[in-house]
């Protein structure tokens, strides 16, 4: 209630920064939900009409048809409220330790994604630092970094799992490595640009002080690259989520959002698939939001313009 009145207040009476953003977002969300309901009715009605025919039911009113298309057990496209109910049932009404709890599965995927993201970010920074300090590495490493991302992750993910399994590495780490594989790339590319972003006079200044390359890195290049790092990390953390989910598919994993997607598609549980999808995107969006928040706090501490 509080948020609703806040939205009305800012949209109706004041043009604030917040009001300027909340209103368009609300409109877009409402539009998506409307289109979603409409599509659900259209996509689910052929099956519904067939079942009427089988049950020899005639002259069913449009209203009844519409209502029935939104309460199928395995709809082509579940209606938003069906997904919402499923999410509510599997989060609030289930114990977190239960295999049926969406929070349990989300945590499995989230922790894998976070581990992969941290490893990917560290790897990306290390690669970028090596590249800007060594011309040979710049020439030799960069093409491979780019080539690594041209391989479809769906093709390489099973290979990584199988190869690591053969040498006895199982569980979370192989899946996290797929997240790492995806998320190191934007960080490496962004940080190469960021570490090279200082002005010429800023670098010359370090030279006049006879600063070592470590001092120049630590006191100039790294602070200067912070905006680039955070932009890259926003992309990296979102695709780390994708990597963790993709990593769960070929293992036939029993836990995680990927496992929920897989199980859902085996048994035609579209409501379960959609609730896992929504959960994954809500998680990814929250993670990106957290990185944005960290970005603002760090830049504020670094004395940037308010």
């Amino acid at each position: 209630m509080l948020t609703v009145s806040a939205i009305c207040h800012s949209a109706g009476f004041q043009v604030t920064d917040n009001g300027g953003r909340v209103w368009p977002v609300t409109v877009v969300v409402l539009a998506i939900i409307a289109v979603w309901y409409l599509s659900a009715v259209l996509l689910n009605s052929p099956f519904q009409k067939d079942s009427y025919k089988r049950q020899k039911q005639t002259d069913v009113s449009l209203v009844t048809l519409a209502r029935d298309t939104m309460s199928q057990e395995r709809p082509v496209l579940p209606a938003p409220h069906q997904v919402a109910q499923e999410i509510y049932k599997t989060t609030v009404q289930k114990k977190i330790t239960s295999k049926r709890s969406l929070i349990f599965h989300s945590w499995i995927t989230l922790s894998t994604a976070l581990l992969g993201f941290v490893m990917g970010t560290v790897l990306g920074i290390v690669l970028a630092v090596s590249i800007i300090h060594n011309r040979a590495l710049d020439k030799s490493l960069m093409p491979w970094i780019i080539a690594s991302q041209t391989i479809p992750i769906l093709a390489i993910a099973p290979m990584i799992i199988v190869v690591l399994n053969a040498i006895g590495i199982q569980g979370m780490l192989p899946k996290a490595l797929i997240s790492t594989y995806l998320s190191f790339f934007p960080v490496a590319v962004g940080m190469v640009k960021g570490l090279r972003s200082p002005e010429v006079s800023h670098i010359d200044l370090m030279r006049t002080y006879n600063a070592s390359s470590w001092q120049t890195l630590w006191k100039l290049r790294l602070p200067a690259s912070m905006p680039y790092l955070f932009t890259s990390m926003k992309i990296a953390i979102a695709i780390a989520m994708v990597g963790a989910i993709v990593g769960e598919l070929p293992t036939g994993a029993v836990a995680g959002l990927g496992a929920r997607l897989l199980a859902g598609s085996y048994y035609g549980q579209t409501v379960q698939i959609w609730s896992a999808l929504i959960m994954a995107s809500v998680l990814a969006a929250s993670l990106v939001g957290l990185v944005s928040l960290a970005n603002r706090l760090v830049l504020k501490r670094m004395g940037s313009l308010p």
Binding site: E199, S201, D204, L205, T208, Y209, N210, P223, M302, G303
Partner: protein, 267 residues
């Protein structure tokens, strides 16, 4: 004390037969050609000339930020590289070049951190040099909170904090308006008088060069070379109104003649 007295009479910068050629895709550019120059301790030397005459390049050669193609340069009797490694000079860039994520105090402390001075010594030097450029009380401000003139004063404090005997300044007031520039010129002259440093100052303003300098080096472009070296006999203790005196105008006239001579073949 005797060493200081000795260095006060010695040559700080000597350049002989100095040339620098940049090889670009459009062919060679002679940035500097046959430069002979001696700068003595305590001098205030201005390098003046139109854009492309190599005045900044010459300053950068002295600072070991460029390497000459031929000829010899010495700074304090050693090569520019050795002088740079010994942190023998402070360099002030055209833009203040303060690091935006550091406060004014931490910007001034930057070279001191790199030199590995302890916290106490750093704090003392920051305080002393900010006071010297009249910026006490602005320690905790970030660069964007200061005006252009104040930023440039902070960058001068940063150069002075190294405590070099030689100050290299590359058009430090070029981007400032004339009123601020006049004010800073006066302050710089007082600073030079107080600290007894040797200053090499790049500018393209004739009044600025004449007002500040003991020696004015007039340069011309393509190839960058020295046209004239004018020794000024204006009193060391001078105010801005000296610019109306006949002596000042005579020197300014000679500088202008030199600049015109350098340009004559062009049209």
């Amino acid at each position: 004390m005797s060493a200081e007295a000795q260095s006060a009479t010695g040559n700080v910068v000597t350049a002989s037969d100095l040339s620098l050629r940049f090889d670009t895709n459009d062919g060679a550019v002679h940035a500097l050609s046959d430069i002979d120059l001696t700068i003595q301790a305590g001098d205030f030397v201005s390098l003046i000339g139109p854009s492309g005459c190599g005045k900044t390049t010459l300053l950068r050669v002295i600072a070991d930020l460029e390497t000459p193609t031929s000829g010899d340069v010495q700074v304090n009797g050693v090569s520019p590289q050795q002088a740079r490694l010994a942190r023998a000079y402070g360099y002030v860039f055209q833009a203040a070049s303060l690091y935006p994520w550091r406060t004014i105090a931490r910007n001034v402390a930057l070279p001191l951190e790199i030199m590995g001075l302890d916290r106490k010594e750093r704090r003392a030097r920051v305080e002393r040099n900010l006071e010297l450029v009249n910026l006490s009380g602005f320690e905790k401000k970030y660069p964007w909170q200061l005006s252009g003139g104040m930023q440039q004063r902070a960058s001068i404090a940063r150069a002075l904090a190294v405590e070099p005997d030689l100050l290299l300044m590359d058009e430090p007031f070029g981007a400032l308006d004339e009123i601020v520039r006049d004010h800073l010129n006066e302050q710089l002259l007082q600073l030079w008088d107080k600290t007894n440093k040797t200053v090499v100052f790049v500018t393209h303003s004739i009044p600025e060069a004449v007002f500040l300098s003991t020696h004015i080096v007039v340069m011309s472009p393509r190839p960058g070379r020295i046209i004239d070296i004018i020794e000024s006999d204006l009193p060391k203790d001078r105010g801005l109104d000296i610019r109306e005196t006949p002596e000042f105008l005579a020197i300014a006239h000679r500088v202008r003649e030199g600049l015109r001579q350098g340009h004559s073949y062009e049209d």
